[in-house]
């Protein structure tokens, strides 16, 4: 079975080589003459007001965690779809109950308004 993954391994190798070669060649050949003015942050001629790394609103977290939950749901759907014709009605109903549970959650978040961007 592992021989099926050999092309992917080769792709990973080629990708690593190409990606790193560009960076390494650039670092080796490119001119590198830093000074205080070049290294200072530039913001249209005036000193920077604040740090670039502003804290995000916690609402992004809600969107991200809801995304993860439905991402996991699709992860469960995938092997089910592969073997659907073998596991029969029982397996089909097991997935329908699972999807029903998540649909309850989906209706809850929809009705609660958590999906609306404010």
């Amino acid at each position: 079975m592992l021989e099926n993954y050999l092309p992917i391994l080769i792709f990973i190798g080629i990708g690593l080589v190409i990606g790193m070669a560009a960076l390494i060649i650039g670092a080796l050949i490119g001119p590198h003459k830093p000074d205080a003015e070049k290294n200072s942050p530039y913001e249209c001629g005036f000193p920077a007001f604040e740090d670039t790394r502003l804290p995000f609103d916690v609402r992004y977290y809600l969107v991200a965690i809801l995304f993860i939950i439905f991402d996991l749901e699709t992860a469960f759907l995938f092997p089910w779809a592969v073997v659907l014709h073998k596991i029969g009605l029982y397996g089909f109903l097991a997935m329908m109950v699972f999807l029903g549970l998540l649909t309850i959650g989906f209706i809850y978040e929809w009705k609660k308004g958590a999906l609306e961007w404010q």
Partner: protein
């Protein structure tokens, strides 16, 4: 030991080295965003190891769920918390006792699991034994929705609880919703907005 076995071992050790190295960089890197990205690299290396163990579905799920979604969440959390690097440096000594306790517990657990009588390395199945058309996804699907249907439904309930918990913890209602309401916008009539006022014009 034939050539394919040597090659597999070589791939295993390179993935294992990347995994250990990036895990180390995750904990010693000063910048939290950088350590999160090293954790992504660690997940990729772990995927390589899992595929070498011929559990391809779990390996691909590791990329799909952990790299694709959980790491996004980690980065969001890092951005939300606005961690100050200087402050982190000063609190290193303060958190050291807790760190030592947790690491000691982990080491004791690992030694206990690997000790003889619990998990004998020689009893584990070796890699490279499966035929070309072996599909781990099919094998998993055959048992997950039939033999393990009850734990599977429990997983569904856990996800439902996670949805409700996330909403009740971070969502504070539709309070200051500043979005436009297109229904009301297109139903507006001229009479609702404009009032004509007759004024006495200035006389010349």
């Amino acid at each position: 030991m034939n050539l394919a076995q040597i090659f597999t071992d070589l791939v295993f050790f390179s993935f294992a080295a990347i995994l250990v190295g990036s895990a180390l960089m995750t904990i010693i890197s000063r910048n939290p965003v950088r350590s999160a990205l090293f954790l992504v690299l660690a997940f990729f290396a772990a995927t390589g190891l899992w595929i070498l163990l011929e559990v391809e579905f779990l390996g691909l799920i590791l990329i799909l769920v952990y790299v694709g979604a959980v790491m996004t969440l980690f980065l969001f959390v890092v951005m939300t918390l606005n961690i100050d690097v200087e402050e982190q440096r000063s609190s290193f000594v303060r958190y050291l006792p807790f760190a030592i306790v947790i690491v000691a517990m982990l080491v004791i657990l690992m030694v206990y699991v690997i000790s003889p009588g619990h998990l004998n390395p020689s009893e584990l199945t070796t890699t490279g034994g499966q035929p070309v058309n072996y599909s781990n996804t099919t094998e998993l699907g055959m048992v997950l929705y039939t033999d393990y249907a009850y734990p599977f439904e429990l997983a569904g309930i856990l996800l439902l609880v996670a949805i409700i918990a996330a909403i009740s913890l971070t969502f504070h209602g539709k309070g200051n919703n500043k979005t436009q309401n297109p229904d009301q916008q297109i139903l507006i009539r001229r009479e609702d907005r404009i009032r004509m006022v007759k004024m006495q014009g200035d006389k010349k």
